[in-house]
């Protein structure tokens, strides 16, 4: 341990935190903060459950066979995906409010590195996303309607949870782009459109031909097809992967571009 000296020299043992300042304690505090926001919790956790209860339990079609399970399971996966992407994009969009409050600037006079700050936001989003997925799946189990092999519950749940990170990038991009308290409304509306385009709410087969073609280019289309594939089986289309990767590149580079601008300016 350094002994204080009269030269007033700075302590030699001062160190820079590892991982740019990222720590589980930060994620814990961020999650607690997120859960305090009742509106976020209602929209991301309760809404998808509510939608599942309305659309997923309808006895007119719920028990119809689809691939290795039934239609109720198909709708459950769609709703869990909807909840997960709402959660991750709201987590990402928190940067908007934080920049407005000057918090990002405050963090710049701490050891926290900008990249670690983004990592904290991503991790926080994933925790909320997990809550949204689990809520829908647990209600699904309790309702006894969705049917598919056990490993598919795990596989689809894990796939859509990890896949929802795509929308953490989307949330960050929009959050950096629009420094506004209303960013959540914009994101909610955009996700509603994306969900229709991706076929989460209505099967794309019910769209007119031009709309159906257009829908295959929207950001949730590829991800939605991929997370349903283990259940639906049948022919696999590489265009789903292409769609997912293209939007991943667009959202991530958009977020990085705005993020760089932001750190220059702060």
């Amino acid at each position: 341990m350094t002994v204080p000296t009269t030269t007033g020299a700075p302590r030699a043992d001062r160190t820079v935190p590892p991982f740019g300042g990222f720590s589980p304690g930060l994620v814990r505090l961020e999650v607690r903060r997120l859960l305090r926001n009742r509106r976020t919790v209602i929209f991301t956790v309760l809404f998808p459950v509510f939608f599942f209860l309305i659309f997923g339990l309808n006895s007119a079609y719920a028990s119809n066979r689809i691939g290795r399970g039934n239609e109720s399971a198909f709708i459950m996966i769609s709703m869990a995906l909807y909840g997960a992407v709402l959660a991750t994009s709201s987590g990402g969009a928190m940067v908007s409010v934080e920049r407005l409050a000057g918090w990002s600037r405050q963090l710049r006079i701490t050891p926290l590195q900008p990249a670690a700050y983004i990592a904290v936001k991503m991790a926080t989003s994933l925790v909320l996303g997990l809550a949204a997925v689990l809520a829908v799946y647990v209600v699904g189990i309790l309702s006894h309607k969705p049917s598919m092999p056990v490993e598919l519950w795990v596989a689809t749940g894990a796939a859509l949870w990890v896949g929802s990170l795509l929308f953490a990038a989307f949330g960050l991009f929009v959050g950096y782009l629009l420094p506004s308290e209303n960013v959540m409304q914009i994101i909610g509306f955009a996700l509603m459109l994306f969900s229709f385009g991706g076929g989460l709410f209505i099967p794309l087969s019910q769209f007119s031909h031009p709309l159906r073609v257009l829908a295959t280019y929207t950001p949730l289309y590829g991800l939605n097809q991929l997370v349903h594939y283990p259940l639906v089986q049948g022919s696999f289309a590489w265009t789903w992967v292409a769609n997912l990767l293209a939007w991943l590149v667009i959202f991530t580079s958009g977020a990085i571009w705005r993020f760089r601008k932001d750190t220059d300016r702060v």
């Binding site: 505090l29 903060r33 701490t110």
Partner: protein, 335 residues
């Protein structure tokens, strides 16, 4: 990761003071030829400033003088357009990451949906080692409001919270940007009492203010800035000495300005219609001239207040004769 109590702090830190024979040590802040422009606007126009460890320095100037811009550069929030900034001999960002320097910013920088205690805990998580959160909250006087949401705190409470956050890394250098803006008299006094205790324990403190009495009361050294330049730099008493000048006022039509300016000790002559105001160091000479050589009437002699000295030095319209320049060269500490 829990904030660690570091036994190093247990010992008393001696007060480092500027003095002879200590010039070899690393300055807390070193600005060399620093300029900063935003587009065509020059916010800082060449500042050289060296602050030694242990000094309490007031950065005094009117709004728009470049105080915040300079502080931002010392914190590594922006890079100078020209010149160099080092903090304890290293680039500002490195000093920040090591917890050597922290700051209390003017406004903002808080999350409304965290509690006071959570905000302190959040900040503590960002550093490798900090003072215990309970201790900094105690020192900033916010222990009682720990469970309150930040959004429900008053301006003064939020400012004390910012102060607590700045104390966490036990920084060698603390920067305060107009820290008492929007506080009532009581809050202001309490805030400065806490800062002063801290400075007495040996911490280097640099604060920006446009309150002259704050600079006078709390700083060992006052750096006056105007339009992005240092116009005077000295101890508070040296700055006060600058205010020792007098004004001679008289009613006089057809003033011979050149003759007045020729009198030794005259800094500046102003005429307003039939009245004339002479700023000078030797009021007797001016009075003698006015009463004997001119038909001047209603002669008044007054001492310049601190406020006038401040206005004279930092006012938006520089005196034609460059009174500020004279004052600057008179009070700039010999180096």
């Amino acid at each position: 990761m829990k904030p660690v109590h570091d036994p190093w702090y247990a010992g008393q830190r001696p007060r480092g003071r500027t003095g002879a024979g200590m010039s070899a040590r690393v300055p807390a802040v070193d600005l060399v030829g620093v300029r900063k422009h935003f587009g065509s606007v020059e916010a800082v126009r060449g500042i050289d400033l060296r602050i030694e460890p242990g000094e309490v320095v007031a950065f005094l100037g009117p709004n728009g003088a470049g105080k915040t811009t300079t502080i931002d550069m010392v914190l590594g929030l922006s890079a100078p357009s020209d010149g160099t900034v080092t903090v304890y001999g290293m680039p500002p960002r490195d000093a920040v990451r090591k917890g050597l320097v922290s700051a209390v910013m003017q406004s903002g920088g808080l999350l409304k949906d965290l509690t006071v205690a959570e905000t302190v805990a959040y900040t503590a998580h960002l550093f490798t080692a900090t003072r215990p959160p309970d201790e900094v909250m105690e020192r900033a006087g916010i222990t009682a409001i720990g469970s309150r949401l930040v959004g429900k705190c008053s301006g003064g409470e939020q400012q004390r919270l910012r102060f607590a956050m700045a104390l966490l890394p036990d920084p060698e250098l603390l920067l305060l940007d107009e820290p008492t803006q929007g506080m009532d008299v009581e809050g202001r006094r309490g805030f400065w009492a806490a800062i002063r205790r801290d400075a007495d324990a040996g911490r280097t403190v640099v604060f920006a203010t446009h309150y002259l009495e704050e600079a006078d009361t709390y700083a060992d050294r006052v750096v006056l800035v105007r339009q992005g330049e240092v116009v005077a730099d000295g101890t508070a008493s040296e700055i006060k000495a600058m205010a020792a000048g007098r004004t001679v006022r008289a009613t006089l039509s057809g003033t011979d300005g050149a003759a007045l300016r020729a009198i030794p000790g005259v800094d500046r002559v102003e005429t307003h219609g039939s009245s004339v105001v002479v700023h000078c160091s030797d009021s007797d000479a001016v009075a003698r001239y006015l009463l004997t050589e001119t038909p001047a009437q209603n002669l008044e002699i007054a001492a310049l207040g601190l406020e006038e000295a401040f206005v004279a030095l930092t006012g938006a319209e520089p005196a034609a004769g460059g009174a500020s320049g004279t004052a600057a060269s008179r009070t700039r500490a010999p180096s």
